[in-house]
């Protein structure tokens, strides 16, 4: 074995190769997913179970995240807007921010932490305890049985969870603005509704769909490629959360640019 220290170029080259290799593996998993769509039977019971786990089970954390984000953002905006005498418009900035960025991103991060970790840990444990080999030995493709129900459940649940986070964020914003700072309710809603449109909702739903796919593909890949027993399960779980979160944040930036091209901001409808 070559024990000589690696130079910076060699280390960089290896990192680039690993990066390309990782994306190749994700691409293969996605390809197997598409093949599964065509060739495997629908597993509705498993999908419903996953919707309960992913969607229903994530509600509390998503509601709390949305509500307190809306509340604190309203308070901060109010303190600044008050200087300019436009504090009654606070609902509009909170609404647009929740729909376009805070709702999708924070919900995505919370779901990555809660659901992505659980997916990687569960599938990883099945991998190291030969349960996935047992599936294969019985002629069941692991992607059909494990990844696809989670994929469908996530693509259904994520947009709904984001909608829920935004709704509770707006409700909290109203409480803080109207009950806390005395902004007239009618003014609050007028500005909020005036500056929120269907494009903002589209932003949230499209981002939710994309983030859901990112989380499920990355987490299932980590689970399915787990080796090295309990230590490996821990590593896969950590990587699933970290990679999902980073991918989500980076994708969010480029997705925002793309969506702003499709739905340009700055026009009042």
């Amino acid at each position: 074995m070559d024990d000589s220290p690696r130079g910076p170029i060699s280390t960089l080259g290896r990192a680039v190769l690993n990066f390309i290799n990782y994306f190749g593996q994700l691409g293969i998993l996605l390809g197997e997913g598409f093949e599964s769509l065509v060739k495997s039977k629908p597993r509705l019971r498993l999908m419903m179970e996953q919707i309960v786990r992913i969607g229903f089970g994530s509600q509390v954390v998503v509601i709390v995240t949305g509500a307190f984000t809306g509340a604190v953002f309203t308070a901060q905006s109010y303190f600044k807007f008050r200087d300019f005498g436009i504090e009654s418009t606070v609902g509009s900035i909170v609404s647009v921010s929740l729909f376009r960025e805070l709702g999708p991103v924070l919900t995505g991060l919370m779901v990555a932490g809660r659901v992505g970790a659980a997916m990687a840990a569960e599938i990883g444990t099945m991998k190291v305890s030969e349960q996935i080999d047992a599936l294969r030995a019985m002629g069941v493709h692991p992607v059909d049985y494990l990844a696809m129900p989670r994929f469908f459940a996530m693509t259904i649940s994520m947009p709904l969870l984001i909608a829920e986070a935004v709704a509770f964020g707006l409700a909290a914003s109203w409480f803080v603005a109207v009950l806390g700072f005395g902004i007239p309710s009618a003014w609050f809603w007028m500005h909020t509704i005036d500056h929120t449109n269907l494009e903002d909702l589209s932003y949230a739903m499209i981002k939710g769909l994309v983030f859901g796919i990112l989380i499920v593909v990355i987490s299932c890949h980590q689970g399915l490629s787990t080796t090295n027993g309990a230590v490996g399960v821990g590593q896969s779980t950590t990587r699933a959360v970290v990679f999902s979160s980073l991918a989500l944040l980076v994708t969010n930036f480029f997705l925002t640019l793309l969506l702003n091209y499709i739905f340009p901001m700055g026009t009042i409808t």
């Binding site: 060739k39 099945m126 294969r136 030995a137």
Partner: protein, 258 residues
């Protein structure tokens, strides 16, 4: 030591393995395995731990792919087949994993029913009766609602056997079916393997370290050593082999003194 003359029949083998090589990183596990398995026979794989017996079994069902060599299952080459192409072949095979590999999230009955449901059997009454039958064979019908986590190691293994046989496969691959079981249950499992062979003409490939079981169930014994077939013959040929390694292995002599 060269392998003694093969006891394999001349008829077209059910499973044919030629020149099988497999390495994991730098560790060469299989280094040219040639083996034929006939329909209906019970072949027992023996040999020191870490010599690739489980690896060979996993190649037969396509869970591992060879670095070189070929495996034919009932005339179909497994090499180069995708997971989806392997699926129909795998449904003809029952596989008992070393640690049973039961699904943690399913009850005993659901674990045993799994291959039936996946094979497309939709009639709940048929599934129920076949699960009951399989669990009765391994004497675990009273535990069908338990979760695998609540079973002893031996019970888990017996559930694994029930799951392997419930689909009435043509061949069953047993990876240490009696390890960790008490002598009475071991005898039950040994008789079960023979009964399945006699009643359903099931082909069995059994990995075991239990020498008493070997002589009880084997039609033919294959010993792996250093990644090749070291011995291939009948139980009598093994028993009377002049090879000192084989005799030490049978007698469980390590050569160490206390």
């Amino acid at each position: 030591m060269p392998a003694p003359p093969s006891a394999e029949p001349a008829a077209s083998p059910f499973i044919q393995i030629r020149g099988l090589h497999k390495s994991f990183d730098s560790q060469k596990v299989l280094q040219g395995i040639d083996l034929d398995i006939s329909r209906g026979e019970t072949l027992v794989l023996v040999g020191p731990s870490g010599e690739g017996k489980s690896v060979l079994l996993k190649h037969i069902i396509g869970l591992l792919h060879p670095d070189a060599g070929s495996i034919q299952f009932d005339g179909t080459s497994l090499c180069g087949l995708s997971e989806r192409q392997l699926a129909p072949l795998r449904r003809r095979i029952g596989y008992l994993f070393q640690n049973a590999a039961l699904f943690d999230s399913l009850t005993v009955a659901q674990n045993v029913a799994f291959p039936l449901i996946e094979a497309g059997i939709k009639n709940p009454a048929e599934i129920k009766s076949r699960v009951q039958e399989a669990l009765e064979v391994v004497e675990l019908d009273a535990h069908k609602e338990k979760m695998p986590i609540n079973l002893s190691g031996g019970m888990r293994k017996r559930v694994g056997i029930a799951r392997a046989i419930v689909g009435r496969p043509e061949i069953i691959l047993y990876d240490e079916p009696t390890a960790g079981l008490d002598p009475i249950v071991t005898d039950v499992i040994d008789h079960l393997i023979k009964r399945l062979q006699k009643r359903y003409h099931v082909t069995s490939v059994v990995i075991t370290h239990d020498i008493a079981s070997v002589f009880k169930i084997a039609d033919r014994i294959v010993m792996l050593k250093n990644g090749i077939v070291y011995f291939n013959g009948s139980p009598d040929q093994l028993r009377h082999s002049p090879d000192t390694f084989i005799q030490d292995f049978i007698a469980g002599r390590s050569g160490m003194t206390s």
